[in-house]
Symmetry: T
Subunit: 69 residues, 12 copies
């Protein structure tokens, strides 16, 4: 049995609706090119404001995935 | 074209329902006196607990706005 | 009137649905053995990913409660 | 019942005598223009030295107060 | 001779008078149930303000004690 | 002789040319309304990129000034 | 299927020989009273020195375990 | 209208002359393979010294770019 | 002579035996696709526990390598 | 007029009585060999506990002094 | 071939003109007494303001040098 | 009985073999000129890589020693 190696990349997902949707958006986009995503860690939560309302939530994630041997 | 200067202030919004609503509450209040709010950054998320349930989410934000020339 | 002393413990709650539900899950579980929970602070937000979607949000909290005299 | 919004400002108080007095000095000064101060958080403690003795303690605080509706 | 193991717990002590008294209050309370307290580390210093004066200093400590074998 | 109290505000200055010019831009703007600026601390340095070149340096500062008695 | 809740406690293990042995010492001690330890995170590595040699490595860990339902 | 996803990578640029030139060097190199660079954040500034003078400034950046859909 | 540009990526190596072996495992895996690895920085050390013993050390590294011109 | 250069050293002062006295003790000791101490910054506050009371406050300081030309 | 040991000291350089000149000033001063300076790391950038302009940039560095055997 | 004052210095030890050996190397070198070393704290662990293998572990330590009265 081998010792796994993971790689983490940093992504920023955005959503006009919620922090969770911003996270889901980033992970869904990453899934197009990476097939072994295992976990994420929230690094920063911020957003853009327009007319006194949140226009977009922007969530920075570190996303971890298994490297193929 | 001028080089913009922004100011950031620190606010704490609260909501009994969600983190997003606490953020919206703080920004809506700030909009009453500031008219150029551009972005926010979440600094801290905490809350009060009453009877084993979250009574209020309290989210500390840094809110950035353009200074008028 | 006495000077209160609080204790903080660190919990990780999880939920397949939202960050708020992960927080509520941790606090509801703590309430079973602690009866004076007063506040929480979010320390870390992360999650597990399965098939390109968030399987569980995992939120680490510090939970503060009053120590009985 | 409304959801409160708080603002935090950052002050530096100083005192030749003690850390507590430097904190009290900053809060007393803030009270002249703000009437709803609720809490403070110590951000940094430093001081000036003259002739091998502490000349002034300088304590940086974040001071939180309720915004009027 | 054994290799010792210590545990740290996080407490918040308060006092209307001084930071040191808030620390002493937390340690005295912990001593009621723990008998091998060895050291503390200050994690955060904050306080409540009432009428432009400090009502309570609140000091968060990590308190370390020896685990019995 | 009184114990001084300082206030710190957080500004973001920008410049297409250099970090120093972004700092100077923020301080010059603050000087229009504040007359006792004493020091600054760099909190963050970032910038916008356009066509593979830095379009603007953006420097976040904490600016400290004396509060009038 | 339930949403798990974990608790983290902070321990300091020590060893005259290695960082790994200090970690193992802390976890073996915790196992005496906790039966669902799942992971650890190293918080700090330090040590005592005697006669110009390391006398003890001291490793502070956060140890996570499943709370029974 | 889609919700954008950004990726951040970490680069170290160097220059014998200035911090700004080290930043520009890193971004110009990244532009060779990435065509949507939008912003950078300075993570660390350090340098090598030779004969009592700075030989190279070395600036670590996080560089953010839009992921193509 | 050119000004070098480095890239850093974040990897997690694991080993049942030691922190050093977890580091070596991550670097050996990275070497399969990157040929100019120059240095690493330990970001986090954690591990999984099974039956009161460390099952795997997991070490998160930032690994720096030279970008080809 | 020259551009000054300062050096900072890190000291730990202790006192059975107060945080301020621990700071004064460290600075008084440094004054024996350094004659241009200008400021200090508190890095950490901790202490030893004996019999449920604080035996010593231990305050880590960075102390800054002017280097002679 | 021996295993090198380095020492780091913390200096503050200042300059009325630029961050780079403040760094060079500190290193040139250190070179008078240390002959093996190898690298520096910027810890903090701040400055004094006079009349709405930067009077001095003040850059805190950690400077690393080889210890002679 | 006097109140002790300690000084901390920052060293980087290196070793081709292990983190512990890098720590021991730094402390052994410090012992040549300092005779009251009492403890160390690991600040950073990094290393150089050559040919896909760790060439040197480099461990930055803060080393504390008693100042003679």
């Amino acid at each position: 049995m081998t010792n796994h190696v993971y790689k983490k990349i940093e992504l920023v997902g955005s959503s006009p609706n919620s922090i969770e949707e911003a996270i889901e958006t980033a992970i869904a986009r990453a899934e197009k090119t990476l097939h072994n995503i295992r976990w994420f860690e929230v690094v920063e939560t911020r957003g853009q404001v327009d007319g006194g309302r949140v226009a977009h939530y922007q969530v920075t994630l570190r996303v971890g995935f298994t490297l193929d041997d």
